[in-house]
């Protein structure tokens, strides 16, 4: 695999691993890097063999933020017109479960990118923050909204107004990350979580992901209704019949995504 690729992709069975690869810039999310990432995710999402995606950086940084030079060179009009941040919305449309594997810095746009994933596995060394306030701006890719929904107003305000970073354990305590693992194990454990998800029925996994996401978009009664319909839909799958039968027969189910 070439060192120059901005996003490196590996496959291991039904799990795909996409690693941001601008190490010298601590994976600062330039337009070019985000373009490459979105293209990678789109391709992986279209591949039915891919049942879970791990999105990571390297040991030092998941992503340390936006590309500051690009931001500094931009004007309000150019930022609005080139729709660079709007393009991030495409990640929300990815149906395949996304596991963020975070080691090192996960700041600004990096933190916003991690929050766009379905769950975060963090190294004990990880640091999470929205430090945009230190630059005279504020989070611009969903940070004020997703962080507040993830951790609540008190911690979100603390992080966004002071720029304070959270350690991995603090992030776990406030619900920003799902698991904290040994420094050496950030990628293997994220892959293990992804492999666990990939072993389930992709039909029910995707319906479940959609239903959980709806909790942040719609009123409770509508969310509960959506869940119920998703449940009936999942029941109609061959995988559900297989899963229920296997349970009764006390054997491991074999899900085929149908």
């Amino acid at each position: 695999m070439s060192e120059e690729e901005l996003v490196r992709v590996e496959r291991d069975g039904h799990v795909a691993v996409a690693l941001l690869n601008r190490p010298k810039q601590l994976n600062a999310l330039s337009g070019e890097l985000m373009g490459a990432l979105l293209e990678t995710l789109r391709a992986l999402d279209e591949d039915v063999e891919v049942r879970a995606i791990v999105l990571g950086g390297n040991e030092r940084a998941f992503a340390a933020g936006a590309d500051i030079q690009e931001l500094a060179a931009g004007t309000p009009i150019s930022l609005y017109q080139n729709r660079r941040i709007d393009a991030w919305d495409a990640i929300r449309a990815v149906r395949t479960p996304l596991v963020a594997a975070v080691s090192g810095f996960c700041l600004g746009g990096g933190c916003e990118l991690a929050m766009l994933c379905d769950l975060v596995v963090a190294s004990e060394t990880a640091r999470f923050g929205q430090p945009e306030i230190n630059l005279g701006v504020l989070p611009g890719a969903g940070g004020t909204q997703r962080l507040t929904r993830a951790v609540g107003k008190a911690v979100a305000m603390d992080m966004i107004l002071t720029g304070r970073m959270l350690t991995a354990r603090e992030a776990l305590a406030v619900g920003l990350v799902a698991r904290v693992v040994a420094r050496e194990a950030w990628l293997t454990e994220a892959k293990r979580v992804a492999a666990e998800i990939a072993a389930k029925s992709p039909v029910s996994v995707r319906l479940a992901k959609e239903a959980v996401d709806a909790a942040f978009e719609v009123p409770l009664s509508a969310g509960v209704e959506l869940e119920r319909r998703a449940f009936y839909l999942a029941r109609a799958s061959e995988d559900a019949t297989e899963g229920l039968t296997a349970f009764v027969e006390k054997r491991k189910p074999e899900f085929r995504g149908r």
């Binding site: 693992v181 040994a182 050496e184 194990a185 293997t188 454990e189």
Partner: protein, 255 residues
């Protein structure tokens, strides 16, 4: 003039607090040098660290002639002591405090942040803080509480009682006491032993014990599994198994 001296003997790094005419009391300058020394000790060639004091004292704690200057004691702690205490805990190798003399106040806290303490029979352990109307800082309430248990730690730190080396040994605060003349030699011997051990496994054991303080059994078992996976991939594990099967002593390289 260096306030902290650093020497190397084989894989053993010795860091000596060196303001002997001031009983090696901490100043901002000494903290900065200590921080640099602890950072350098991350070098994988260093497999054990000894911390000791020059002259008659180990460390008398904060140099009180400097403390009032900044006006903001909390900020001074955050900027000087905290990074150094955290650096000792983050060093993934054994850190041995070789307590050669008076060990007081924040000097006591610092010694207690280390992994192993041995003492000269001339050493004395003095809380200090309560004697001047302060609380134990630099991790004192954390480490001493862990080492001695809450009742004894509370009584000791609030009574400000001076402890001899023999009493410190009886309490389990230090693991051994040797004659003053023999201390440096014994510290070197002990450090050389640890430097011949499988350093990565020892460093991970240190991390695991620190983690255990706040973890549940489930969390601890999970971290053990993750780190054992790493240890089982080390050259030292291969060497350890090979040596066992060949019925010879292992030669660990720390990798």
């Amino acid at each position: 003039m260096a306030d902290v001296e650093v020497t190397q003997d084989g894989a053993v790094r010795t860091i000596t607090l060196s303001r002997p005419d001031k009983m090696n009391a901490f100043t901002r300058g000494m903290h900065a040098e200590l921080h640099a020394a602890l950072k350098d000790a991350r070098d994988p060639e260093v497999r054990a660290v000894v911390v000791t004091g020059a002259g008659r004292a180990f460390c008398a704690g904060q140099d009180l002639t400097e403390f009032g200057e900044t006006g903001d004691v909390g900020a001074a702690l955050r900027e000087t002591y905290h990074p150094n205490v955290e650096a000792v805990r983050a060093l993934e190798k054994p850190v041995i405090a070789s307590v050669n003399g008076a060990c007081a106040g924040a000097g006591l806290s610092f010694a207690c942040s280390c992994d192993i303490r041995i003492a000269s029979d001339a050493a004395a352990f003095v809380p200090g803080f309560a004697g001047i109307g302060l609380i134990p800082d630099a991790g004192g309430t954390y480490f001493i509480h862990r080492l001695l248990g809450a009742p004894r730690a509370f009584e000791w730190m609030t009574s400000n009682r001076r402890l001899t080396a023999a009493e410190a040994h009886a309490w389990g605060l230090v693991s051994e006491v040797v004659e003053a003349d023999a201390l440096a030699g014994r510290a070197a011997e002990l450090a050389a032993f640890y430097a011949s051990m499988p350093t990565r496994a020892i460093g991970m054991t240190k991390r695991l014990f620190d983690h255990a303080d706040t973890a549940t059994l489930d969390e601890q078992l999970e971290l053990e599994a993750q780190l054992q996976t790493v240890a089982a991939q080390s050259a030292d594990f291969r060497e350890g198994v090979a040596a066992f099967l060949e019925k010879r002593a292992p030669k660990f390289t720390g990798r």
